[in-house]
């Protein structure tokens, strides 16, 4: 099927297969279309349907809004040739486009890290390559609709995908995974991706700061690992600020301590506790980590003071945490939005 996408600057035509969303099809064609969540919530990928027929996976999706002509590129598949229009500008890329594929995979490892965080690994049937900081959407027959999860490791061959999931009371996916636990080992999932533009590659040539609320640390670990692998933090400053409520909510301290030790002088990793003081035993046990009491955006503001120049910031986590960090970077750091990459976990 042929899709014509009208945008403010140019009209594009690309092919869409029956099995893929318009978002996937546009990305495969190398178009830089707007999107954020890939799961129907944020509304960034909204277009108007002008002609043709689409199949909408989730017509009630919150991102769609009230306009009867509005459709979400991440939720719709082409059923016939069609014409859609985007409100903004759409450009094509000369970089090799990384197409978002659909593959199946099995849960091969699962362990509980804290009372409300589980880490799990999915082995895809065919490798799924991705960039540090990206996410995929996961689907299982038991739960309605896909959800986005960020890959936690830098794994260039894409042969295994690791995630962390935070329990959301009443949440469809997270409560399901917490309820089933180890019984899910071997379960088959559908994976679509990779998605996401909060990516890091060492040719960036800038200092980087990662500010994570809770499970937002997922993609940040991959980013820091990617930098450490190349010795990036011998030349550029890297700072990871990881905020959780109390010392009991922190995870990966051992792994982050090792990463910090290996990363070189210019890499710093700080754990921020918003609801409790620092635990001296942790500080002693993990000498390569910093610990502080306060909201993660406040701790990051103090740590980055005077260092906002030539900085690329990565933010992820619950929307209020990301909003607070954005505000801090814009107001105190006077940073340009172009250097703030974020994933709101909504």
């Amino acid at each position: 099927m042929q899709v014509t996408l009208k945008s403010k600057n140019h009209d594009w035509t690309f092919a869409a297969h029956g099995g893929e969303s318009l978002l996937q099809a546009a990305m495969r064609a190398g178009l830089h279309v707007p999107y954020e969540c890939a799961t129907g919530t944020c509304g960034s990928c909204r277009v108007d349907l002008i002609a043709g027929e689409l199949q909408d996976a989730w017509p009630e999706a919150p991102g769609r809004g009230d306009d009867p002509n509005a459709r979400l590129m991440c939720q719709c598949k082409a059923v016939s040739d069609c014409e859609i229009s985007a409100k903004g500008y759409v450009y094509s890329t000369d970089h090799l486009p990384v197409a978002a594929d659909r593959v199946s995979g099995r849960i091969t490892d699962l362990r509980q890290l804290t009372p409300d965080v589980i880490e799990f690994t999915v082995t895809p049937d065919t490798p799924l390559r991705y960039l540090a900081g990206q996410f995929v959407t996961l689907e299982h027959a038991d739960v309605k609709g896909p959800r986005g999860y960020s890959m936690t490791r830098h794994a260039p061959d894409g042969s295994s995908l690791s995630f962390v999931i935070k329990r959301l009371p009443g949440g469809g996916w997270s409560e399901w995974i917490f309820a089933k636990g180890d019984a899910l080992l071997g379960s088959v999932l559908q994976i679509v991706g990779p998605f996401g533009r909060a990516t890091f590659s060492p040719d960036l040539g800038m200092n980087i700061a990662c500010i994570a609320g809770g499970s937002g640390v997922a993609g940040m670990r991959a980013i820091i690992e990617r930098g450490v692998e190349d010795g990036y933090f011998m030349q550029y400053r890297g700072a990871l600020f990881f905020g959780v409520r109390t010392p009991k909510d922190a995870f990966w301290l051992e792994e982050l301590d090792a990463l910090s030790g290996k990363g070189g002088n210019k890499l710093s990793i700080t754990i921020a506790y918003s609801n409790e003081g620092v635990d001296p035993a942790q500080q002693e046990r993990f000498p390569n980590l910093g610990f502080a009491e306060g909201f993660v955006h406040e701790i990051a503001a103090a740590g980055l003071k005077g260092r906002f120049n030539n900085l690329r910031a990565y933010l992820a986590g619950p929307p209020p945490a990301v909003d607070a960090a954005q505000r801090m970077l814009l107001v105190e750091g006077k940073m340009s939005p172009a250097n703030i990459r974020y994933d709101k976990f909504s």
Binding site: G43, Q326, L330, K334, P337, A338
Partner: protein, 99 residues
């Protein structure tokens, strides 16, 4: 011309939004100069009052579209203009023209 608020209600570098006959109007104090614009982001229906204003640049917190309040122009990322209104200040009162 519609009365919106008193100049004294909005400190330098601050902003506040008002509902004027069903229209959200955002009034900003840019270095002592009073400016007024649409209170709703032209991207998605988000209140700009919840965004970030540094005295010159106004940023929507949702996807970081940014406008320069001094010039009324797009600064960064924004794909659409923000509608600015003409403002008249008289005896400490802020009036907006063309609502």
């Amino acid at each position: 011309m519609k009365y919106v608020c008193e100049v004294s209600e909005i400190d330098v570098g601050e902003m506040k939004s008002f509902d004027i006959d069903g229209t959200r109007v955002l009034v900003l104090n840019a270095d002592g100069e009073i400016k007024a614009c649409d209170g709703i982001c032209p991207h998605q229906e988000v209140l700009l009052e919840e965004g970030i204003f540094d005295g010159c640049l106004l940023t929507c917190h949702s996807h970081l579209w940014q406008w320069n309040v001094q010039t009324g122009e797009i600064e960064q990322e924004a794909e659409k203009d923000l509608k600015f209104f003409d403002v008249k200040v008289d005896d400490g009162k802020v009036f907006v023209i063309g609502l």
